[in-house]
Symmetry: C2
Subunit: 166 residues, 2 copies
């Protein structure tokens, strides 16, 4: 940890039983650039619980890539499985322990998939259903991110490297 | 894309056939805080090609979490499958098309798992083999990141949400 510079965003004021907040300021150590955004049917109010649930709704999504980054889409074809990383900018970053409504008690943030985490990066494994590289548009089968979520990385899924031996 | 502010890091000077560099400056849009670091047997020179290859060497690794973030490990137990996100700070960020040595021709960065990408975030699916929360130490079965790599997130693997229907 470097010398504290900037307080993490704090925007959830009520703590539930057993929850714990980061009580020190924390340095920012590296910077992200947004490569585009996600289009989805979801808002903060109506989003599905996870990507599996989003897929079950039958609603698809899309990636809209900024012009400067479109050449980096070359080689991606319909049917390809992708790993998306995106930035959940609405999430508080200072919760160390959380008590989600679907659990019996509080637990550590790194033991949860909650959007509230020190670095609010979301991950989704999706399938490409269409792509127009010149337009910077990639259609995907489903996504649980809210509409307009900034995208930070696209990776091809590597089935063997991205799974455990069993 | 916001107004350009800071040039991305450029530290690979030789382009191979078909490779393409980002030729504009790009804004930084969000900031990361490092939550700890990865311990591994690997250096920039001797690292394995991917996590599957790292696992096959039989060499394990560890996560060392900074004191402020240790309460967020609560609930993680030996045997748990985790998704790690880490920051590959040595990688160039300006390559849009790349010609890796193991391929026949250049292709888009988002179609490759190369560390060189606009946001050099690495991902690994690992298994916990031991944990000491007070010491901020999590032993893991294997990792392909180089020793000292900054860690940015730990998530529990969600088998159904983190895979495609087939």
């Amino acid at each position: 940890m470097a010398i504290p510079q900037v307080m993490l965003q704090m925007n959830r004021f009520d703590l539930r039983p057993g929850e714990m907040r980061l009580d020190t300021s924390v340095a920012f150590d590296a910077q992200l650039t947004f490569i585009g955004k996600i289009e989805s049917p979801w808002t903060l109010q109506n989003g599905p619980k996870n990507l599996h649930a989003a897929r079950e709704t039958g609603h698809s999504g899309a990636l809209v890539i900024a012009p400067a980054f479109r050449p980096a889409l070359d080689g991606i074809t319909p049917g390809a499985p992708l790993v998306l990383l995106y930035w959940m900018s609405e999430a508080p970053r200072d919760l160390l322990r959380q008590f989600p409504r679907h659990r019996d008690s509080a637990t550590g943030t790194f033991n949860l998939r909650s959007p509230a985490r020190p670095n609010p990066i979301g991950m989704g494994v999706v399938r490409v259903t269409g792509i127009d590289i010149a337009a910077g548009r990639v259609e995907i089968d489903a996504i649980d991110a809210i509409d307009g979520t900034p995208l930070i990385d696209i990776k091809p899924l590597a089935r063997r490297a991205d799974s455990l031996p069993d």
